[in-house]
Amino acid sequence: MEQFKKKFLEEASDLINSLEDVLLKLDEDPNDAQIIEEIFRVMHSLKGGSSMFGFEKMDGFTHELETVYDLIRIGSLEINREIMDITLAAVDHLKVLLENGDELDERGRKNHQVLLERIRKITNSKEIQEEKTNQGEDKDRELTEDKSRLLESAPTYFITVKPHEEIFNNGTNPLLLIDELHTLGHCKAFVKQHKLPLFDELDAESCYLEWEVFLSTDQSTDDIMDVFIFVEDVCEVNIHKIARENLLAITSFTSELVNFIKTDKETDVEALKSLVEDVQNQNQEEDAEQIRLKDLSSQKQKANISNIRVSSDKLDDLMNLVSELVTTQASLSLYAETHQSPELASIAENIEKISRQLRDNTFEICLIPIETIMIRFKRLVRDLSNELDKEIQFIAEGTETELDKSIIEGLTDPLMHIFRNAIDHGIESAEERLQKGKPRQGRIVLKAYYSGTHVFLQIKDDGKGIDVEKIRQKAINRGFITPETQLSYKELLNLVFLPGFSTAAMVTELSGRGVGLDVVVKKISDIRGDVEIESQLGVGTTITIKLPLTLSIIDGLLVKIDHTHFVLPLSSVDKCFEASNYDVQNAFNNKIVLDGKQVPLVHLRKEFDINENNPDLHQVVQVNYDDYKIGLSVDSVIGEYQAVLKPLGRMFKKQEIISGATILGDGTIALVLDPAKIISTFDRETIMKREQLKQTTDVDT
C-alpha cells in the first residue's frame, strides 16, 4: 500500500496544481460549463484517491468542496466572488495538507475548521450530514454481526426472485445471485419455468426463468436484500419469513418440498405456510427420537476409519462393471429416444447422469499419485551415480499428479530406461562438468503436471545434450539417411527413436545394450501416450511424455460413414465443418479450406473404400494433433459419446489406425479411430516425408 500512497501523493500534487490553473480560468469566464465540469472532475479524483489511501482530512475537505461544485454544475448554485475566494483559499490549504501528509499543526487545524464552516455555509448540506450518520450505523451493525452461524436456530425465509425479461441487458447473470444466497446460510433453490415460452417464440436474449429459494440464515432481511442491490430495478424480489427455525434441517420438510414446489407454477405462500405448520407439529413429536439417534450416529462417526485397503483386482472388477453399465445406459438412452415417453426419458436421463458420476468416481478411485513409483527412481539415481562416480541431484516436482493405476504400471519400465540414459549418457562426470563451467553436481528433474485431459511427465537433465551432427553421421553410417537428406533439427533428434539406433559411443553395462529409445516409444504408445525429445548440445536433454488420464473410457465424438459408426476421441477434435460432395471429392492437392485456412483433408470414405450412398453434404471434422491440423471427412456427425474402449481381437493387432472398438446403445459396434495414426497413415505430406526417408535408406542398402 505504501508504494501506492507515494504515487498518489505525486498525483495529488499534479491534480491540485491543475485545479488552481483551471480555477484561474474560471475567474476569467465564470459561466463556462466545461471548466466547471473539469473542476468537478479533478476534485472528484482527488477525493477518490485521498479516501482510498487514508488521507481522511483531505478526503473530508475535498468532499465538501466537491459538493459545492456539484451544486454549481447542476445549476442550483451560481459562481460568485465569495465561492471563488474560498475555493482558492481551499486549494492553498490542500497544498498544506499534501505537504504535511494529512497532518496539521495548531494554526492549520484552525484554518481547516474555518474553511470547512465557510464551505458548509454555502452548501448548507443537511442531507450529507444525515448520510454520514447513517454510514456510522451501518458500520456498527457490521461489527456486531456474529460470524458464526447457529444454523439449527436460524430462521427460514422463502424468497421469490423474478428477474425482468431484459435483465441480461445489464450484463447481470441472475444465477450468480442465487449462488450468492447459498453463501448466506443453508439454502435450497428451485427454478420456475412457467414463463418459458415455446422454442419458436423464445428470445435467447431474454430471461424467462424465475426462482424460489428457501434460505435459513441469521442475516437480516436487509442483508438478504443486499444480495440483489445491483438488480433492484430489473428484478422483483420478495422475502417471506416462514419459520423461526431452520426448516431445511428437517428431512420430512425437504422431502415434502420436492412434491410441493412445481416448476411450472408459482408457489402459493399461504399454502406453503400451512405446510410448514404441519411439518412443525410432526417434527416436535419426532424430536425426542431424533436426539437419541443423533447421539448414536455421532458415536458411530468417531469409530469410522478414513481409509480402507482394497485389492486392485476388486478395483479392476469395479471398473469393468462400470464400463458395462455405461454401455447398457447408452442402449437405455437410445431406447428412450425412440419411444416417445417423457417418464422413460427422464429416467434415462437420470441414469445417464448417475452413471457418469459413478464413472468419474470410479476413475478417481483408480487413480494413484506418481509419488508411489518415485522411490524407485530415487534409488536408481543414487545407486547408478555411485557406480558411475557421478554426482547427481534428483528433484521430483508435481508427484502428487494422479494417473490411472494401469498407466502407472505401464510407465515404470520406460521411465527407468529414460533415467538410465540420462544418468549414463547425459550427465557428465564431475571433472568434466567443472571444466565446462557447470556446477559440480548434475541435476535431473522430473516434473509432472496436468494439461487438459492429459498428464505430462517431463524428465530434464542438465547434461551434455545430444549432438545432432553425431546423430546425423550415425544415421548415415547405419543407412537411415543419405548425406543429402535435409532434415530439420527436430527431425534429426527424432531419429533416436528409430529401432536399432543407439547414440552411446561406448556400450556400457547399464544402457546402450541395443535396447534403444524405440522400446520406450513402443511401451508408451501401448498406454496411448506420446514421447517427445528436446535437446541442446552442452545444456541438456528434456524428454516429455504425454499420457491420457485414463485408458478404458474416453469421451468421444460419434460419427457415421454409410452405415458404419466411428468414434473420434473428443480431446483431439477441434471443430466440425460442412463441405459439399464436390469439394471433398475434388480437393486440390488433398487440401480443403476450413475457416479460411488450407487444411490437409483425409477423405475417409476413400481410404476405407466405402463407395455406396455418397451423400451430397459431408461433414469435415478438424482434428488437432501435436499442433498439426487435419480434416477428416465423414457422412454425418452424431454427437458426443462416452466410449468404453474394448480391445480388438488378435488378428487385428497389426492395423494401427484403430485403437479399439466400443459397443453402441443399439448393440452395434463402432471403431475408435486414432487421429495420430490416421495422420501418419493417410496424410500425404507426412507420408511423402517418410517415403523420402525410406527411399534414401533403400538406395543405401
Binding site: K7, M52, H63, Q135, N170, G171, L176, F230
Partner: protein, 121 residues
C-alpha cells in the same frame, strides 16, 4: 478461474491499487486511462468484466458503457462502475446506460472483490 478484467480510471493510483488487488486475486488486468483508451481492448478479444470510473477527460464512463453495450460481442458482459456515496443521480444514469453494478469509493480490497464476485465467476 482467471478472468480478463479491464479497468478504466484517469487516476493512476486508483488503477494501480485496483489492478494490484485483482492481480493478487489471480485475474488478468488490462488498464486504460479513459473511455477512448479503453476501446482498444474491445476489438473482439475476450473481456470478462469492465470496471470503469465515471469522470474521465476523453469519453466518460457513461459514454463508454453505452459504446460497449452497442457492440455485439460485449452486449452482455458485466460492467461495474466506480462511484462515491454522493452520486445517486449518476448511479441511475449509469444503470440506464447498461451498467451491471457499482463499487463505492473508498473501498477496501475485500469490498472490491465482493462486488466483482456478484457479477462474474
Amino acid at each position: 478461474m482467471e478472468k480478463t478484467i479491464v479497468i478504466v480510471d484517469d487516476s493512476e493510483s486508483i488503477r494501480e491499487v485496483v489492478g494490484f488487488t485483482l492481480k493478487n486475486a489471480g485475474h488478468k488486468v488490462l488498464s486504460a486511462v479513459d473511455g477512448k483508451d479503453a476501446l482498444k481492448f474491445f476489438g473482439g478479444d475476450k473481456v470478462d468484466l469492465l470496471v470503469t470510473d465515471l469522470h474521465m477527460p476523453e469519453m466518460n464512463g457513461i459514454e463508454l458503457i453505452k459504446e460497449i453495450r452497442s457492440k455485439d460481442n460485449y452486449k452482455f458482459i458485466p460492467i461495474l462502475f466506480l462511484t462515491t456515496e454522493s452520486q445517486q443521480v449518476k448511479k441511475m444514469e449509469a444503470k440506464q446506460a447498461g451498467a451491471t453494478g457499482w463499487i463505492v469509493k473508498p473501498f477496501v480490497p475485500e469490498k472490491l472483490l465482493a462486488a466483482i464476485s456478484k457479477v462474474v465467476r
